[in-house]
Structures are given as structure tokens and as C-alpha cells.
Subunit: 199 residues, 2 copies
DNA sequence: CCTACCGATCGGTAGG
DNA sequence: CCTACCGATCGGTAGG
């Protein structure tokens, strides 16, 4: 009476689906990710695929989680060892630029694409994306506050203004890389970050 | 033998279609703009609608042109009378911020949404979008160069760096307005522009 | 500008 | 995990 597929196999299949989904969604959007095409590319049936997620919205929410895991692995976890304060903030920004520069996902930053796609709608996917963005800004805020408390940034630094400008630099980096294939864009991003944070 | 509808009527219908299309596309994307839904909202048949543009791609290209016309009317044409040089550049940026702040289109900046949607594809729509972006950067470049020649900006100003940073500020403005409904975002955009251009 | 229609694909379900 | 199927919608065409 042993099951035909072990729990490990099931999780592995689920992971395969998510990796393929994330690549498609970063390039063609979360709505352009269709069950039929995805099943086709993975050599499985639509019903078999949907069994893992229930509905398309369930799949989309799982892809958002997977994207957050990839970003977390590529950016904050890479600089965990950096000393606290301004140096940590600089290391985070450099890892962020490097992540976009290396084009880890074929369509560039998944969150930029998905956020722009869903910001005019409502529902659970939009809420999940807004939540991820808020969490990430919270991380940035912590690093900025710490740098201020260490006297590495001026005491009257406008924290939300600094976050706004850093986000703008990264959005522009994604824009110039994806639309213009501008190889000079990462250097511009680094120069802009340096003007804000020194180094 | 007079035609049932005059040329003027035909152009008016075409304009009605484009205005509705632009509103839908700014909120739901150029691909989310479907012929059936559009025809339904306008109370006409799909065939009648498609007659004006031939194919969906023809419609999308016409919407890109219409978006450029709206942007042109709302930003550069509003500041035509501003004196040449740095004051003109500042006026352009202020009109640009104001355009996004007033949410002229329901989904925010059409070009941000459409560019992000199409940057991973190829074809005539993507090329048209890239061309519009290039034209607009050319305008900005002219104003920056003029301000430099007047001695209003340093002679060693990195022109492409400045364009990069201005674009980033506007992308961030659209992001914080659309996703976060952050009413403080326009003030942050203005502060960031002031830091770059003085005033 | 319309009606009537085409093949293809969408997300999803029944039943195993 | 599969086959077989559902109603709805997609872009587009024929013919008027």
C-alpha cells in the first residue's frame, strides 16, 4: 500500500514547477504564466500541475513566495557577515545591483515586473506583493537607522527619502538593463548609490 | 451615394476607441486590453472595432502613439514657454511629477507599465516603446546640455548619469503612488529632483 | 459598421 | 499523477 510517489518526490516536482514558473513570470508576467503552457513545457498534464496549487491564484501566490526566497538568497543572505551599520547597508545595495546585473532571472527583477502588473488590481496576489515590498523596505529602514545611531549617516537623515531614492536607482537599473540592454547601467547605479551612501 | 458615416465621424469613433483603450491599458496592460472586452465597453462589435486597426497589434501600436500624444500634451507642451536651460529642465521635471501626481491615467504612467510588460519580448510594439523612451531621453539630454552651456550646471556633468537618476526618481514615484498609494511620494520626488538640479 | 462564425486556448473539474 | 471533458473567451475572418 505504499504511495506511488514519495513525499520527497512530490516536493521535488513542486519545486520544478515553481522554478520554471518563476522564469516564465519574470519575462512574461504572472498573468502570462498559463497553466496549459507551463504543463506543456514541464511534460505533465494541466490537472497534475494544478493538483499542487489548487487554482491559478494559488500558483501565483506560490511563485511570489519562491521569488522572495530567491531574492533573499541572492541579496540579504549574501551579506549576512557584513558589519552592522552603514557598511551593511552598502553591502546590501551592492548585492542588489549585482543581482540585477547578473540577470539571475531571464526577465530581470520579478518583483518589479509583478508589482507593475498588479498594482492596479486588487486581491491576494497584489496584497502578497505589497507585503513583500513592505518587508524589504523595513529591512532597509533598519540598516539606515542603525547607521544613523552609529553616527555614520547624519542624525537628521530623512529615512523614507533615502529609501525612496534607493528604490528609484534599482527600478532605473532594471529599466535600462531590460529595455535598453544598456551595459553601462550597473556602473550608473553604483555611482548613484555612492553619492547617497559614500564609500 | 454618400457614405453612411463621414470621415469626421470615423475619426471620432477611432479617438473614442483609443481613449478607452489607453485607460484600460494603463491599468491592466497592453495585453490585458482584449478586443472583446473593449468592444463590449464601447457598445460596438469586435469586427467594427478591428476595422479601424486591422489587428490587435495595430491597435496596440495606435495606443502607444496616443499615450505619447497625451504625455506630450501634459508635460513638454505645458512648459514650452519656460526659459531655456536649467529653468526649462526644472519645469519639465515639475510637469512630469505633476502629471504622475494628478493620475491623469487610472493605472499611472502608461509607458512604465507597457515598457515593463514588453521589455522581455520582441516585435513592433516593443520597438515602438523603446523608440518613444529614446526620444524622450533625447529631449532631456538637450535641456541638460543647454544648461551646461549656460554655465547653470557644472561643465563636467555626467549627462547620462543625470538622465539615469531623473528616470529613477520618476519610476519610484509611479511605484510608490500605484502600489503603496503613498501621498508623500510626490514631495519625495520633488526633493530628490531639487537635490539634483537645485532650485 | 453589423451578424455569424472559425480554431485555439483559457482556467478548471469529474473520475479514476 | 492521468484522460477526457466543460463553458467561456481569445484574435480574427467571411460576407454583407
Amino acid at each position: 500500500m505504499s504511495p506511488r510517489r514519495s513525499v520527497a518526490d512530490t516536493l521535488e516536482t513542486r519545486q520544478r514547477i515553481l522554478e520554471r514558473s518563476l522564469a516564465i513570470a519574470s519575462a512574461e508576467g504572472l498573468e502570462g504564466l498559463t497553466i496549459g503552457r507551463l504543463a506543456d513545457e514541464l511534460g505533465m498534464s494541466k490537472a497534475g500541475l494544478l493538483g499542487h496549487f489548487g487554482t491559478k491564484e494559488g500558483l501565483q501566490l506560490a511563485v511570489v513566495d519562491e521569488a522572495a526566497a530567491v531574492f533573499s538568497r541572492e541579496v540579504p543572505e549574501r551579506v549576512k557577515q557584513a558589519p552592522s551599520g552603514l557598511r551593511h547597508l552598502r553591502a546590501v545595495c551592492e548585492a542588489w545591483v549585482s543581482y540585477l546585473e547578473r540577470e539571475v532571472l531571464p526577465g530581470g527583477c520579478f518583483f518589479t515586473a509583478a508589482t507593475t502588473e498588479f498594482d492596479g488590481r486588487d486581491g491576494r496576489v497584489r496584497d502578497a506583493l505589497a507585503g513583500m515590498n513592505a518587508l524589504w523596505r523595513r529591512d532597509l529602514r533598519i540598516h539606515i537607522r542603525r547607521a544613523m545611531s552609529f553616527g555614520e549617516l547624519p542624525g537628521d537623515t530623512d529615512v523614507d527619502q533615502l529609501i525612496y531614492e534607493i528604490v528609484g536607482i534599482m527600478l532605473a537599473l532594471n529599466h535600462f538593463l531590460q529595455l535598453e540592454h544598456d551595459a553601462a547601467a550597473p556602473a550608473r547605479a553604483r555611482k548613484a548609490i555612492r553619492r547617497l551612501l559614500g564609500g
